[in-house]
Amino acid sequence: MASPSPAPPDNPPAPAGAPANRLWDWLTFGALVVLVFHLMGLWYRWGRPDPQFLGFTSAVAGLLAWFSLLGLQTEKGRRMAVRLDDVFSFQRFLPTAWSRCLATWLAAGVVALLFYGGSPLAASLYNRHGAAALEAGRYSVALRDFRQAASLHPHDPTTHYNMAFVYVTTNNYDDAADEFLQTLELDDTFWPAYNNLGHLYLLQGKPEEALQVLLVGQRQAADPVGQAVLTKNVAWAYLELELPRAALASLEAAQASLEALQGQGQSVAVYLAETHRLEALALAALGQPEESRRAWQDSLGYALTVVESPACGAGATRLPVDCLDAIRWAAEAREALAAATGEP
C-alpha cells in the first residue's frame, strides 16, 4: 500500500535569493561590519594601545569587509557562507534570517556600548590607579596606566596632562612638552597645562617661549588660582629675561590675588613662598637690599608653613613636589637672610 504523500505546506519557503531574505542578509552583513569594527576598536583600546597597530588592523578589517561583500555576490562565496553557517550551527539556534539579523545587531550594540560607554569609565579607573602610583613614586606603573587611559579615552586632556606630569618628574622634558601641548589641543582653557609648560620652558632656559605660553594661559584661565599662579610665573619669565621691574609689577598682582585666596581659606602658601622669593630676587637685582631682605623673610614664612605642614611631616613616606620646593626655598631664604645680616 502506497503511503500517502505529504500535504504541501501552506507557506512554502521562499526560494534562495528571494528579495525578503536578501534584505535581511544585507542588514546582517551591516551588523557584522559594525560588530567587527567595534570589536577591533575594543581590542585596540584595551589590549594594544598602539596607534600603528590600530592602523594595521583597520586596514585588515576594511579589506576583509570588502572581500566578504564581493564574495557574497558569487555562488562560491554564498556556498562558503552556508558552510560556515553549518559549522557554527547558527541555523540551529536562529532558524530565520530576521532572527539572525536581530541577534547580530544586538551583539554589535553590546560591543558598541562597551566601546563607547565602557572605555571612558575604564580610562577613569586607569587614571586613578596611575595617580595613586604617581603619588607612591612608582613612575613606570603610573606611565603605563596613563598610557592605557589615553588609549581608552584619547580625547581626555587630563590623561595627557597626567602623562606629561610623569615625564616632568622623570626629567623627560621633550615628551612632557609634547603631552602638555596635546593637552592644550584638547582643552585650551586647561590652565595647569599652560603653567607647567611655561614652567618647563623656564627650567630648560627658554624664557621667551615660557613667557609666550604663560601670557596665553593668563588670558585663557578662568580659575582665580590659575590666574594668580600664571601671573607669578610670568614674573619669573620676566626675571629670566632680566626685566625686574616688569617682574615686580606681575608679582604685586599675583600676591594680591593669592592673599585674597588665602583669606578665603585656600591653601596657597607654596605659591606665596615662591612669589616672595621671586620678589626678593627682583629687588636684589634692582639694588634694594633692605626690601629684598624683607621679601626673603616673607618667603621663609610661607615656605615654612608648607614645610611644617602635616603633608610634609615626618610621617610622609614620599615628599610631594610642593614640599621639596618649599624646603629648597626655606633654605635659600635662610641663606640670603644670613648673608644680609652677616651671620655665619
Partner: protein, 362 residues
Amino acid sequence: MRAFRLSMVLLVLVAASCGGAVPAPTPAANTVLLPNMLVEAQGQVLLRRAGWNDYQPAVFGAALEPGDLLRVAAGGSAAVFCGDTAQWAENPRTLQADGSEHSVPCQAGRPPRPWSEVAALRGEAAVDLPYVLWPRDTALLSDRPALRWHPLAGTTAYTLTWIGDDGLERPAARVEGDTTAWPAGWPALQSGATYILVVEAGGRRSDAGNEEHVGLALHLLPEAEARQVREQEALLRAQALAPAALDLLVAEIYRGHGLRAEAAALLELMPGERAPAAGLALGQLYLETGLGTEAQQVLQQVLLQAGGSLELEAQARVGLGLALRLQGDAAGAQEHFASALSLYEQLGDRAEAAQVEALLGR
C-alpha cells in the same frame, strides 16, 4: 543575551567602582571658620607677620595667618589654635622654644575682619538717656535674654517696653536697677519675628536719642542654626585650652552668627583681668552695635595694656578713632587714625596701613 547580561553586570560594576565612593564629610554650611590664634604666650614670644619689617612681641589672643613667623626664646612657651575644623584634633600646637623661626602650623583660618565691617554707621551719644546696652542689633540664642541698659544718675526704676511683630502681648514691665532677667510675665521670643527693647525712666526714653530705632532690632536665631552653634561650641569646649582662650574663641563663634549680645556678655564676664585681645574683641562688638562710649572705655584699657606691642596699640587706636567718630568727634578720631597709621608704617604692615588711610579719607 547571556553575553549582554554579563556586559551589563560588568558595566554596573565598573560604574559602581568609579562613582560609588563614600563622599568625605564636609563641614556644615553655617559652621563658622575661626581664626588661628596664639592661645599661649609665656616668656619671650616674637611674631613677624608677612610684610612686617621685623619681629615684634606677640601677645596672647593674637590672630595668626599662614606666612606669619613665630620665635619662642628658650624658657618660653607658645601654642597655637588652628581655626580650621579639620585641624581641631591636633589643637593646640605647641611651638618649639628654640629661638628659631617657626611657621604658623595651620593651613587655613579666618583672616582678621576689616575695620570697615566693625564700625556702625550710627551710634548712641546721649549719656542722659537709658539707651539699651544688650540686646541690641543682634541675633539671640536664648529666647529669654537678660536685658541691660545705660544707668541714669539718681534713677533706680525703669519701665521696659517690648516692641515685636510676633503678635504676642508683653505688657510694660517696671524694674529696679540697670539690668534684669527676662520678665516673668512675658512670653518667650519667637523665631522669625523682629523685636526692639525700649527703656524709659523719668520721661526719658531710650529711643529718643539720635539713633531712635535704627540699629536696635534683634531676633531669635533659627533653631537649626542655633543647634549648629551649640554643637560647635561643645566641640570647642572639649579642646584642651585655657578658659580665657576658650571664651575668646566661643565669642568668635557667636560673632560669626551675629550673636553679638551673647558674645559681649561672655567677654564682659571673663574671670580675672581681661586679656588685651578680649578687650579688643569686646571693643569691636561695642563699635558694631553703635556703643561708642563703652567701646572707648574698653579700648582705652587695651591701650594701657599694649606695652611694647605696636600692633595692639595700633589696633586700639583704630578702634578709639572709630569710637570717637561715632560720637561725632572727628578731630579726635583723625588723631587716633594718624597715630595708628604711623604705627603700621613702623611695622611695615601695608595692608593695615591701607585700611587706616581709607579711614583717614586719603
